[in-house]
Symmetry: C2
Subunit: 341 residues, 2 copies
DNA sequence: ACCGCCAATCAAAGCGCTTCGATTATACGC
DNA sequence: GCGTATAATCGAAGCGCTTTGATTGGCGGT
């Protein structure tokens, strides 16, 4: 591989001039000189070595990304992570950044975070860190520019971007309450994720605001998967007074709900309304098609990457919460409750 | 951040000695010396700068990974990518490698592949490259150690690891044929993916071997998603002689099949047997629970990363195909065809 | 008392780039 | 035609590490 030194020798100019041309540097350069240097660059098929550049510049143009989601296939098995990653990659690439990925289940800072430190990532994106682990403190102690996705804004004072879960949960509750439901259950998913917490709070507040006493047996934590949705629904249906509507923490959970209902002979939506979150591709093709909340994950990822890159560039990015609104997709799995229930 | 120079000064030894200790280098070192150096390392909380090291060693301990899957949310929306990635990360981390990720829809070599070249990745993993694009030639021309996942072995002469799709497809056909089906359709997914090709071939060969003439209207390409499965199934069911069994290219497709069948009032498995591929979590919770092929994606990813790392280490890795066998998970969506059909 | 060896350590060059003070060439004003 | 500001280019140091030939000191052998 040719080096900048080869380009200099071949073109007859100095390293400094070549470098200046290559980087559209601050020093003026005669057009003819630029032309000749670029000609050599092309002829030799020269590309700057990013490692050397990183060392010299003390800047790698690398973003680290860490997924806090702790459970097994921690990455990207869900629409959430995949969409976010897609957005991050898009925005990063646009700004000439690349992304390194060190997502393994969290054990300790040294294993999971050291790569970011040692490889001199310019900044870190952290996605959905659990609120009950020491991941965030460890991350902060790296003293690198940090932007979080899905994280309680009051903690740690870092810029955060997220889907507007308050708005989302309100959309769901508007819909269900508006339909006339009063016995509404919530399968919230991982209770240590901020989104889950936020939605639970809205769920409870809206119930109370509607003059409905929240029942603890209607609020079930679990995992964000079909199995959990299935099992929890079985539990709910076995209640002396089962709910007339279930607000599932995501679509995977909702698939499990649908399944359990079918198995128990409970008609959806006639006897049980079901609403999911995410609008995963299969959601449009369940029976009945799933009413759900479409989440702008990709935009969240893009925004997060952009903010981080701004911060790296030195712009002051206030530690505020950037929210993107979800959207209710009404399909066939929700309706007004039976008069009799 | 302290540098190795600080450690040297603080401990009173030379750079060379410190470096030798840090790397368990080839030169002998007095135990007392080692102790004192390490003590300083700890006290200063020194960590080698991987960028500088990369420059000096001409080796970055970085793997690049590129997902060839071209369609929109190209990464990780499916079980395939997610499992592979998980495996890759696990094996890479174990070997002290990190992974950089540049997955955007393929446009041209410069945009997608340049980062690997310029950042001096030690090697590249390519996942499911489309057979009809110029991605692979471009990748090869980088002249970096390369390991492919899901790629026709006869092309390019590179080590490849994959799920044993021949075995898998045979398992499926054994099952369906064994049940007595003769009108078997196949929704193959992206026809430009090698797995899809392989399965189609087995599908056709087994049909012929069983004395069944393959019908072109039973072999439908499409996308690996629910929508595609749904639409293609509608098409199949509208045929004068609809199939009694559908072999779906993956579970997402199979979900669509199930849905279309339900909508058309076709009983599964009584009137239509359905079999998927992947064993996605929701597969166990459909109605009926989906018979499917469980695929060892994670092991594929791990093996690929290990092979690549071996190659980088200089071990000769033959350009052979490493196959991992899938496993048939029999659930309720398949049965013998109606006598009448 | 001397030679040769090996263990232990050091000094310096080099990896490929950026940066910035220094230097030389060019243009302008009067 | 001379001084001076500016354009254009160069030289050299430095980023933080590795590597290797060179150096030193202590030991056994004779």
């Amino acid at each position: 591989m040719p080096t900048i030194y080869d380009v200099a020798k071949e073109s007859g100019f100095s390293l400094a001039t070549v470098s200046n041309v290559l980087n559209d540097g601050p020093r003026p350069v005669r057009p003819e000189t630029r032309r000749r240097i670029l000609e050599v660059v092309n002829r030799l098929n020269y590309h700057p070595n990013a490692v050397a550049r990183g060392l010299a510049r003390q800047r790698t143009n690398m973003l680290g990304i860490y997924y806090g989601v702790v459970d097994s296939p921690s990455i990207a098995i869900n629409a959430y992570s995949a969409g976010v990653l897609q957005g991050v990659l898009t925005a990063a690439t646009e700004a000439m950044y690349n992304v390194t990925h060190v997502t393994l289940p969290w054990r300790d800072a040294e294993e999971s975070l050291a790569p970011f430190r040692d490889r001199r990532s310019d900044g870190i994106l952290v996605v959905a860190p659990p609120t009950d682990s020491d991941l965030m403190p460890a991350l902060c102690s790296l003293r690198l520019p940090l932007v979080a996705i899905s994280w309680p804004p009051e903690q740690g004072n870092i810029p955060t971007v997220d889907v507007d879960d308050v708005a989302g949960a309100n959309l769901v509750m508007d819909h269900l309450l508006g339909l006339g439901h009063r016995r509404i259950a919530h399968l919230m998913g991982h209770s240590n994720l901020i989104s889950a917490e936020v939605r639970r709070n809205v769920y409870q507040e809206r119930l109370i605001a509607a003059g409905i006493e929240p029942r603890p047996e209607y609020l079930l934590p679990g995992l964000y998967d079909t199995k959990s949705g299935y099992e929890n629904t079985l539990r709910l249906l076995a209640l002396p007074e089962p709910p007339t509507a279930i607000f599932a923490g995501n679509d995977e959970i909702a698939f499990g709900v649908l399944e359990a209902a079918r198995e128990r002979g409970v008609a959806v939506p006639e006897q049980l309304s079901v609403i999911g979150v995410d609008d995963r591709p299969p959601a449009a093709f369940t029976t009945p098609p799933l009413t759900t909340l479409r989440q702008p994950f990709q935009r969240v990822g893009e925004e997060a990457a952009r903010l981080l890159i701004q911060r790296i560039a030195g712009d002051a990015v206030p530690a505020v919460l950037h929210l993107f609104p979800p959207e209710l997709v009404e399909r066939g799995s929700t309706t007004a409750p039976f008069a009799g229930s």
